[in-house]
């Protein structure tokens, strides 16, 4: 468990750094076409081969990961902030606040997420922002429920009553007393959500609903090269394999963190 956890962390660090610094790495331009190298297998010139337009697959994959990173981190951050705030307020104030929040959440949950995303992406605007926002809204209901459930557990604890007896304002009580208790659970869940976000972005871009070409994304690479999969499997399987390993690593890290967070209460 320890070793695999460390390997997973190392992989995530490697992929993230490679994606962030993709421009600085000695790689061909992801958009540069070289028709002579069309569907070239992996080799010295193209480490992961070239696609049907002769573009470097490794370079495109790393650049594609940027979209994956921004979308998965951005949408989870949105859900954490918005969903977390709503959930904590619902669990703390109860009554009307809770009723209204949960009604909205239930409506959102009853809505097919794909329809919601297609509807949102159809609006004009920056495509990256739209995808982040759409996935963020899809993730929010779950975060609201988790934040509310955890708040309910802590709001009944005596230290909250004691803080109230000390005349603490609601804002200070939530921000300084409750939030530090809730954060580990919320972040642990957020970590698992990042994996779902990365996968969702790939699915959306495969369907052409994410950032449009020429910006490379993993899903779009797989979609456009799938017709050549017999001839040049690397053009599909390299980005797919990279995504698979990354999500595998994210899940492994997420589960380990969640285990530690859950164990924390019992051990204290």
């Amino acid at each position: 468990m320890r070793l695999s956890f460390l390997l997973a962390l190392a992989w995530l660090a490697l992929v993230t750094l490679a994606a962030v610094f993709a421009d600085l790495l000695p790689l061909p331009d992801p958009d540069a076409q070289s028709l002579l190298d069309m569907l070239a297998p992996p080799g010295a010139a193209h480490w992961a081969g070239a696609d049907s337009l002769g573009r470097d697959v490794l370079s495109r994959t790393l650049h594609g990961f940027r979209v994956t990173l921004v979308v998965s981190l951005g949408s989870v951050a949105f859900a954490l902030v918005v969903g977390g705030a709503l959930g904590i307020c619902a669990g703390y104030f109860r009554g009307l606040t809770e009723g209204a929040t949960l009604t909205v959440v239930n409506v959102l949950l009853a809505f097919p997420p794909l329809v919601l995303i297609i509807a949102m992406v159809a609006y004009p605007g920056d495509p990256l922002m739209k995808v982040v926002l759409a996935l963020g809204i899809v993730f929010t209901p779950a975060m609201v429920r988790i934040a509310r459930a955890n708040t309910l557990v802590f709001a009944d604890r005596e230290f909250v009553t004691a803080a109230r007896a000390a005349g603490m304002s609601d804002a200070r009580l939530i921000w300084r007393e409750l939030l530090p208790n809730l954060l580990p659970a919320l972040l642990a869940y957020g970590l698992l959500m990042i994996a779902i976000g990365a996968l969702a972005e790939a699915a959306l871009s495969f369907l052409g609903l994410s950032v449009p070409p020429p910006t490379p994304t993993l899903g779009q690479m797989m979609a456009s090269e799938q017709t050549n999969v017999m001839e040049a499997p690397h053009a599909v399987f390299f980005p797919a394999g990279m995504l698979f390993l990354t999500i595998f690593a994210l899940n492994m890290v997420g589960e380990e963190v969640q285990r530690r967070v859950d164990g924390r209460e019992g051990a204290a």
Partner: protein, 339 residues
Amino acid sequence: MTAPLLQVRGLTTHFDFGRSVIKAVDGVSFDLAPGRTLGVVGESGSGKSVLARSIIGLLPQSRALRTGGEAIFDGRDLRTLPEAEMRRVRGRQIAMIFQDPLTSLNPVLTVGRQIVQVLRQHTDLSVSAAKDRAVELLAEVGIPDPKRRAEEYAHRMSGGMRQRVVIAIALACEPRLLIADEPTTALDVTVQAQVLDLLRRLQDDRDMAMIMITHDLGVVAESCDDVAVMYAGQVVETAPVAEVLAAPRMRYTEALLQAIPRMEGPSHVRLPVIPGAPPDLMRPPSGCRFAPRCAHRLDRCAAEEPPRAAAGPRHAFACWNPAPPPVERPLETLADDRA
């Protein structure tokens, strides 16, 4: 006697659930002067804690809540004070400490930070000034190496140490009234004595009034000036401590005292117990609420509620068939020496 700091008059706290009404606190009155300690004694479910929470305004916000009477603190009725005003009173003027010091401390904040929070809420101290003050407060409640301890979490401390921290938090803003809800129940006996000593010392330093809620008459004897005995939501006897311990008049108080083992006298004697259980607060018995369990019950006890009778300048009780007054009062001098 100085003018009272807190005057409670006919305080009632009922929970109205439509079909039934729980009369948790039912017409409680008492006075409390600065620097004095009132012990509130009673069995579990007698309404002690609800009384304390009624005074400090910490009852659950519920549509079932029905409140009445008044609690005049420093000229203002706490019961009619708006929540924003009440928040300034809590922690600053009136502080409260709870039974279990572990659960009343935040598990993920250092104890120093928790004191800083309260100081920052009520005063204009900067963060660093508040930190210095927190260390001073920890030193004042007798925590060794307070600077280092301020950086620690509650779970690394012993029970007595935690309760000292809780006291430091409560006293951070120099409140004029401290409500202590069973502050020593969760502690070892030796630590209990230390905490009671500490509370008394801090109280004397600040001329602070205190309401000590407990079911332990030993704690009362050790730390209180006056006692209010509660039964089924009502105060059935109020008196100076020594007077109540030596010569209780209300039969419930008498029965409580008889149920305490004595140092003198034979050791292998069955202790007298009070038969039965405290009454259901939804359907309290008519007349005297203690009547169904009372060994000295008269016919009129179940029929009419006994009026409050005076048994001395500061001693009142409600009983139709009271214990006889002592022939001479050898302990009366003792009762006044702490006043």
